[in-house]
Amino acid sequence: MAALAFLLECAATAAFLGTALSLLTWPLLAALRGPALRRIPALRADLAFVLGTLPAVGALAVVSAAAAPSLGAALGLWSDHCASHGHHLHLCILHSAGMRPVQASVGAFALALFLFRAGWLARRVVEMRERLAALEELGTRRPGHFPIIAVPGAPQLCHAVGHVHRRILVSESLAEALSALELSGALAHEEAHLRRRDPLAGLLLAVAGLFTAPFFARAFLSAWRTAAEEACDTDAACAVGDGSLVASALVRVATLQRQAAHTLEAAPAFGAIALEQRVRLLLEGERRVATSARALLAVGSVGAVGLLLALQHASFLHHAVETLLHQLF
């Protein structure tokens, strides 16, 4: 019973902190649309990623630190501290002070929602990996900076894939329809995604989104994707030396995909990145700056430092969370 109460208290705390941090960071997305950052899409993507993962990192760090004294006591590492504060709720896996109905309901709802969304996400990742493996078995490998897998079928694919083993998936028919220069522009764009490890970053953002409301998760993901696409356009323009070439490849691929979508009665359904905006930015490419991505490193460092700091102040955070739960419920 005490363990269940502890779990529900942790879930309620994580949900509260994730939502509160999202409410604080979400308005900052508007700042990313400012004129200064528009010129540096890679930095904008990094900041969007940091903002998107901050609620999850913050919630996890605080909940881990707040739960540490109790878990430490359960494992016999720390002394039992519960006798020292009988005046408010206990966040304790050993002794339950009795949960209030509202707190139990909020915790149960938050936990159920988290598990449902996490399960859904895990299922989609597994399904996608199986489908990708089946698709790649039909393809042929071509040499490139990253492996390029040319697959049969309609000209739908020109995608960077792989959370760890990075590769480019391209439809043979699409590669044949593009001129050599256009294809080099398209592949340079995908290579930029892989250098930036965008497929992994996208998955991490989706996982971070589990700690906040779907509305916020979508907003952060959308801001990051838009900036990441523009950053890769800039990188590709630098790589091939001509922004109009990448713009031309964009329009050509969009035209081919549109035709394929009509034939297959299906269409790529994720993320509407404004093609017109990307083309116009590419044609004005000389005003933009290409920089390398540091998002994963930044979030990893911030997360590690944050967790260390939180654990260092575990006792304070433990009592702060107990007081917060006591006041809220």
């Binding site: 996608m128 964009l250 969009a254 549109r258 269409a267 790529p268 083309v279």
Partner: protein, 130 residues
């Protein structure tokens, strides 16, 4: 009309289809005789697999005496193309944002006039640069 989509074949199904594609039209007994070594299976297993492939629409069949004689409903290349289309569409529709970074997204949301306008814009810019 909506195009038919295919699921990836299992190991035994793929082995059977390989024989059918290379030796069509064949009976289940002939397929069984050609599957040797690690692919060797009981005749009844092959017969059941071929019946399942027929129900899936991958094999056509007609009576030849007491047995069924099977032929592929589509060539290997056509099957692989259709399978790739189905897999790619499924990945893009259901899982896109999880692992893929696309060169162009949401093509279906673009109308033809916008694409024409952008093509003209690029041509103009290139003309201006030369």
């Amino acid at each position: 009309m909506k195009k038919r989509t295919w699921e990836p074949l299992g190991t035994l199904e793929a082995a059977v289809m390989h024989v059918v594609w290379t030796h069509s039209p064949v009976t289940a007994r002939e397929v069984c005789d050609r599957m040797t070594g690690p692919e060797e299976r009981a005749y009844t297993t092959i017969m059941t697999t071929m019946d399942r492939l027929h129900r899936k629409g991958l094999l056509l069949r007609e009576k030849d005496g007491l047995a069924w004689r099977y032929a592929p409903a589509l060539t290997r290349a056509a099957f692989e193309k259709a399978l790739a289309d189905g897999l790619a569409t499924g990945i893009l529709q259901a899982h896109g944002e999880l692992a893929l970074s696309a060169f162009v997204d949401a093509a279906a949301e673009l109308d033809e006039s916008l694409l024409d306008r952008l093509t003209q814009l690029i041509a103009q810019r290139r003309k201006g640069n030369t």
